[in-house]
């Protein structure tokens, strides 16, 4: 494999992030407990530097490096930027929570940073091998993060389940990749695409490979019936880890789905579209219905995630440029909403309170009106109430589905999201109309408040001015 120094410039963001992670790892050795803040600051600084580099290197062209295994394009740049911003949000939201529980140690930062690095690699993968590397780096960091509170039994259990099921999912993905390799003789997306274009479904090995790979994607997203890990993991993991898990990796998973399904298996759209349709209906249906029966807010949001994944699949299965852009819009919006919702939950889980049950949210308005308003905004947005951006995300996806003639599918999705509106609105009712058991006002850190405000305003303003983000999403798929 010929190596050129110029390649290093292409992966500069990833290198900076790697250096940051290593620096935190080393720095942590020299800090005593009072000085842990340096980890935090250094991590955020590193993320910001990475974000800046992504922005600087961004242009409308496409750069392929390392013999076709790494790609930098506008699509990837946007997703990387959002992943990095969400990771910064995660650190800001989680600080007080983790510090209070003695979990605010260097390893936490290192693991999150490496996970982020894994995501960036996934986003920029241009061959199955690179993709798998990034995916495993991400997954291996997430398993210990879920069990980060070592003394928590549910945490350990959740991590165990996640690990085993994750191994199974990865195994299937890898098996699928090996079959694709067998059928095409290559790992590179471009080469695979060439063979697929020529042979199509005539080649049975390709079909097997496609199904296995798709299952890997569905597992990462948490689509029914590969969703089982999601509620248990959400419930067992510490809130900041859930916050992280629910937001940024979904973007990486979307990148993975796009790279595999569109870039390399695009010729088989009609076939994977059908599989996605089944998964989408199951996810939207099951997610929305089961969420109603939950009393645990984390589980409820886990099922809500599952239903949103169904909506993302709706956009992908349309198979048109508008559909892809709509799915991308939906993913970005969903990640923002999830970050905001879990961010609020992490922020109010202080002073010994661990928000677990829906009842813990009662009367939040009396304790901190602004946070309650932000959480309500997230709920409205998730339910798809205008002018919050969630409405537009749903509208675009449904529009894409209707425009390819699948009106019945849109009707099914709408019916289930009406059912789903119930549990989102229930949260709002708890926030505003019920009395809190303990109504002492919350004292929150200023930077976390700023972050949640930015997050909330983004959800609101994108809803009023959706054209800005939509334009970028459209551009990413028109090239």
């Amino acid at each position: 494999m010929p190596f050129e120094t110029a390649f290093l410039a292409t992966v500069l963001p990833e290198l900076i992030l790697l250096a940051t992670a290593c620096a935190v790892l080393v720095l942590d050795l020299y800090l005593n407990d009072e000085q842990r803040g340096w980890n935090h600051n250094l991590a955020i600084l590193g993320l910001a530097a990475t974000l800046g580099t992504v922005g600087l290197l961004s242009n409308n062209g496409v750069t392929i490096a390392f013999s076709g295994s790494f790609i930098r394009d506008p699509f990837g740049d946007l997703l990387k930027g959002i992943i990095l911003i969400l990771t910064i949000f995660t650190f800001v939201y989680s600080r007080d929570y983790m510090r209070e529980r003695g979990l605010w140690v260097g390893e936490y930062h290192v693991l999150v940073l490496f996970a982020t690095l894994g995501m960036l690699i996934m986003v920029s993968a241009h061959s199955f091998l690179t993709l798998y590397l990034g995916l495993e780096l991400l997954a291996l960091c997430l398993y210990p993060l879920v069990a980060f509170d070592r003394d928590s039994k549910p945490g350990a259990e959740a991590a165990m389940k996640y690990f085993v099921l994750g191994a199974l999912g990865s195994g299937m993905l890898l098996y699928g990749i090996s079959m694709l390799y067998g059928a095409t003789g290559s790992f590179g997306f471009a080469d695979v695409a060439e063979v697929v274009n020529a042979e199509g479904l005539e080649n049975k090995i390709l079909v097997f490979g496609l199904v296995f790979v798709l299952i890997g994607v569905a597992f990462k997203f948490g689509a029914v019936p590969f969703h089982m890990w999601l509620p248990d993991v959400y419930q067992g993991a510490p809130m900041p880890v859930v916050l992280f898990l629910a937001s940024a990796p979904k973007i990486a998973a979307f990148a993975m789905a796009t790279r595999i399904l569109i870039d390399s298996l695009g010729a088989l759209q009609a076939d994977w579209g059908e599989i996605l349709m089944i998964l989408a209906i199951l996810s939207i249906g099951l997610g929305n219905v089961v969420a109603i029966a939950q009393t645990n807010i984390k589980r409820m949001l886990a099922y809500s995630t599952i239903s949103h994944v169904g909506f993302i699949f709706l956009g992908l299965l349309a198979g048109t440029q508008e559909g892809y852009a709509a799915a991308m819009f939906y993913t970005v919006v969903y990640a923002l909403m999830a970050a905001g919702a879990f961010g609020v939950l992490a922020m109010i889980s202080i002073n010994g309170l661990e928000v677990e049950q829906l009842d813990d949210l009662k009367g939040l308005n009396d304790r901190d009106a602004w946070l309650a308003a932000m959480l309500a905004l997230m709920m409205f947005s998730m339910a798809g109430v205008p002018p919050a951006v969630g409405f537009f995300a749903k509208l675009l996806v449904l529009d894409a589905v209707v425009s390819v003639g699948l009106t019945w599918l849109a009707v099914v999705a709408v019916v289930f999201s009406i059912i789903g509106a119930f549990y989102y609105l229930r949260v709002i009712k708890l926030l505003y109309f019920d009395k809190a058991a303990d109504s002492t006002p919350l004292r929150l850190a200023g930077d976390a408040k700023i972050a949640i405000t930015v997050n909330g305003l983004a959800v609101l303003l994108l809803g009023i001015f959706p054209a800005s983000l939509l334009g970028i999403c459209n551009a990413a798929f028109s090239g």
């Binding site: 165990m160 389940k161 085993v164 099921l165 199974l168 999912g169 299937m172 049975k204 079909v207 097997f208 496609l210 199904v211 296995f212 798709l214 299952i215 597992f219 019936p225 590969f226 089982m228 890990w229 509620p231 248990d232 076939d271 059908e274 599989i275 089944i278 099951l286 219905v289 089961v290 109603i292 029966a293 939950q294 059912i419 001015f465 959706p466 054209a467």
Partner: protein
């Protein structure tokens, strides 16, 4: 320029947001300073834009600022069309609004007394009020500056919303809540027509942009639509849009909300229900003149509705005893004059009357408000009298307003109203003759009710109780200042603007009049200066009738009441059934209450019993909620927590999908 226009629109919005959301932090003084600053900026810039059109050579601005979305090829945009018509409206709206902002400081100074003790709704009511009126200014500017139908509709709805909020501002009073609901519902009827009209435009023209629609309009002049046995497309669109205008500009039969809207605080009556919001319909029709010119039927409809409103609503004013309601009915009647002008294709005259009316009607309302403040919020003119000695500024300004209203020669109202009647007289559309008679006799009615109120309030023996009388005094400068500032244009603005607006076609391309409809043509042809116009007017019927009305009013309510203090009540009794019909407002309210409200209630009850409780609640909602709940419970059981179940589910999924593929 885009930045400047954006600033004009957004400055009041910023004030509204500040005063609304940060009311506690800003405090009362901070809130009124902030909003007045916002509206002041807006007003100064609007006046500068107007000056640019009058003395400079400012170009017409027509551009889009932001594309909200594109659906089916129709662009939904935010954009501005600023031509002379818009500039005139902007200046009028922001100037009156600015005056009202200042006046409000005095009027709302002790608003706490209007709320029950400890009422939560009354908290920061002062700031909230300022926030609303600034928000109103923003909405109205969005409406008049729009260059497309969508933004027009946004502004249209937004002013409706703010009006609703303000009529029901004293939300603890039942009558206020009733009135605001009524206003909202009646406007909804109009808006329904309006949005259907916009939809028809979208359907046939495939665009929401004014200039694109207007450019295409002549091609559709002969298009027929197959509804109601086939009507012309332009007639349909114009009448539907006009139904919207009937709601907003309170034309018969959608006028019923306006008198009740007087439940709101007086500054609002002046700003919204006299000078600006109610003129939105007039402005809209003038803006759409290229469409209306294509349908003689629609013009005729507009003309007749306007004339009927002008005459019959004026009559009701004669029997009202609430000072604000008298002014409210006079507003209805004057709006009728403006609409009639539109129907006669004299758009310029309609806009001209809109502007002069904005000044003198705002003046009359604020003067009425000043009287109300002095009378400790007693609004019954039967309890007033002889106020002229105690309140000289209010008295004189009210006299100016009344003279302008009855079209006394030389005052601003004279030029505009005379031009309207003249134009209607020259109009050739169906019903023009009928309309001319109504409008001309209307001049007599106007003089009667205006001066009945004026004499009963300011002259004669004081009839208020001892306590109120001893406390009577002129209101503070924040109240009288705007009165004086409005009185000046009420006298002079007509003299200076009549020639450019009506004769030398200053509005230019902003309005479009087909040659055969040009009813102002004769006026322009025989134009020999303002003096000649006044002289000519003094030979006409409207002048004679107005003067005889003034004389009669003086005779009855000044000299007559001096001799017989209960003459007014006696006259009303003598009217018999006629008085009763007028007091019942021709039965519109009863009819609406019985047929629409009652019918709606009955229908609702039927649906509630049969449909909702039995079918929906019983079968669908509770039924499906039960089944969803049961389903959720069962599916939840699938999530057993056992790892091998989970792995099993994945394998089943895998096998299922593979089978699907390999087999089919």
């Amino acid at each position: 320029m885009a930045f400047l226009y954006l600033l004009i629109v957004l400055a009041p919005l910023a004030g509204a947001i500040g005063a609304g959301f940060f009311s506690a932090r800003l405090g009362r003084v901070g809130a009124h300073r902030m909003t007045i600053l916002g509206v002041g900026i807006s007003c100064a810039l609007s006046l500068a834009v107007l000056a640019g059109f009058i003395w400079g050579d400012l170009k017409v601005f027509n551009d889009s600022i932001y594309t909200w979305m594109i659906a089916d090829g129709i662009r939904f945009e935010i954009g501005f069309l600023v031509d002379r018509l818009t500039a005139l409206m902007m200046a009028t709206v922001t100037f009156v609004s600015f005056m009202v902002h200042i006046y409000t400081i005095g009027y709302m100074a002790d608003d706490e007394h209007n709320w029950p003790q400890g009422s939560l709704a009354g908290k920061h009511s002062y700031q909230r009020f300022f926030s609303y009126i600034s928000l109103f200014t923003f909405s109205m500017l969005m409406l008049v500056m729009s260059n497309n139908f969508i933004q027009l509709f946004f502004g249209w709805e937004a002013v409706g919303l703010v009006s609703y909020l303000l009529i029901g501002f004293w939300a603890t009073r039942e009558s206020a809540v009733y009135a605001n609901l009524k206003a909202f519902l009646v406007n909804r009827v109009g808006d329904f027509g309006f949005i259907l009209g916009i939809a028809a435009v979208g359907m046939y023209f495939n665009s929401m942009n004014y200039s694109e629609v207007f450019a295409q309009a002549p091609q559709f002049a002969d298009t027929q639509v197959a509804i109601l046995g086939g009507v012309s497309l332009m007639t349909l669109i114009c009448i539907l849009l006009f139904i919207g205008a009937m709601g907003k500009s309170a034309q018969v039969p959608l006028h019923v909300w306006l008198p009740d809207s007087m439940e709101g605080p007086t500054p609002i009556s002046a700003l919204i229900h006299a000078a600006t919001m109610v003129t939105a319909g007039i402005f809209m029709v003038a803006r759409m003149s290229p469409l209306y010119e294509l349908s003689t039927t629609a013009l005729s409809f507009v003309l007749i509705i306007g004339a009927v409103t002008a005459f019959f609503m004026g009559l009701i004013g004669l029997v009202q005893n609430d000072i604000k309601r008298v002014v409210a009915y006079s507003t209805l009647s004057q709006l009728g004059y403006m609409v009639a002008a539109l129907g006669a294709s004299a758009y310029a005259a309609g806009i001209f009357h809109l502007m002069t009316h904005a000044f003198f009607k705002a003046l009359l309302f604020l003067a009425a408000g000043s009287v109300i403040i002095a009378m400790h919020h007693d609004q019954d003119i039967r309890n007033m009298g002889g106020l002229w000695k105690k309140m000289p500024i209010t008295w004189l300004t009210a006299l100016v307003g009344s003279l302008a209203l009855i079209a006394f020669p030389g005052f601003s109202g004279f030029f505009s109203k005379d031009a309207i009647i003249e134009a209607v007289g020259h109009s050739q559309v169906f019903g023009a003759h009928f309309a001319w008679i109504l409008l001309t006799v209307g001049a007599l009615v106007t003089a009667l009710y205006s001066f009945r109120m004026y004499y009963l309030v300011f002259h004669g023996k004081p009839r208020m109780d001892e306590h109120t009388r001893s406390h009577l005094h002129e209101t503070p400068w924040v109240v009288t200042g705007p009165l004086i500032a409005l009185a000046i244009p009420s006298i002079f603005i007509g003299w200076f603007t009549v020639e450019p607006l009506l004769v030398s076609n200053w509005l230019g391309d902003a309005i479009h009049v087909a040659h055969e409809h040009d009813s102002l043509h004769a006026l322009a042809e025989h134009w020999h200066g303002q003096m000649a116009f006044i002289e000519h007017g003094m030979h006409g019927w409207p002048f004679l009738l107005a003067m005889s009305g003034l004389g009669l009013a003086t005779l009855i309510w000044w000299f007559g009441v001096k001799l017989m203090p209960n003459l007014d009540a006696l006259l009303q009794r003598a009217g018999g059934p006629l008085t009763r019909i007028l007091q019942d407002k021709y039965g519109f309210d009863d009819f609406n209450q019985r047929v629409f409200a009652g019918g709606g209630l009955g229908l609702g009850r039927l649906f509630w019993n049969a449909g909702d409780q039995v079918l929906i609640d019983g079968a669908v909602v509770n039924g499906s909620a039960r089944s969803v709940g049961r389903l959720a419970g069962q599916v939840r059981w699938l999530q057993s927590g056992l790892l091998y179940h989970y792995a099993m589910a994945m394998i089943v999924g895998l096998v299922g999908l593979l089978t699907l593929y390999v087999v089919f």
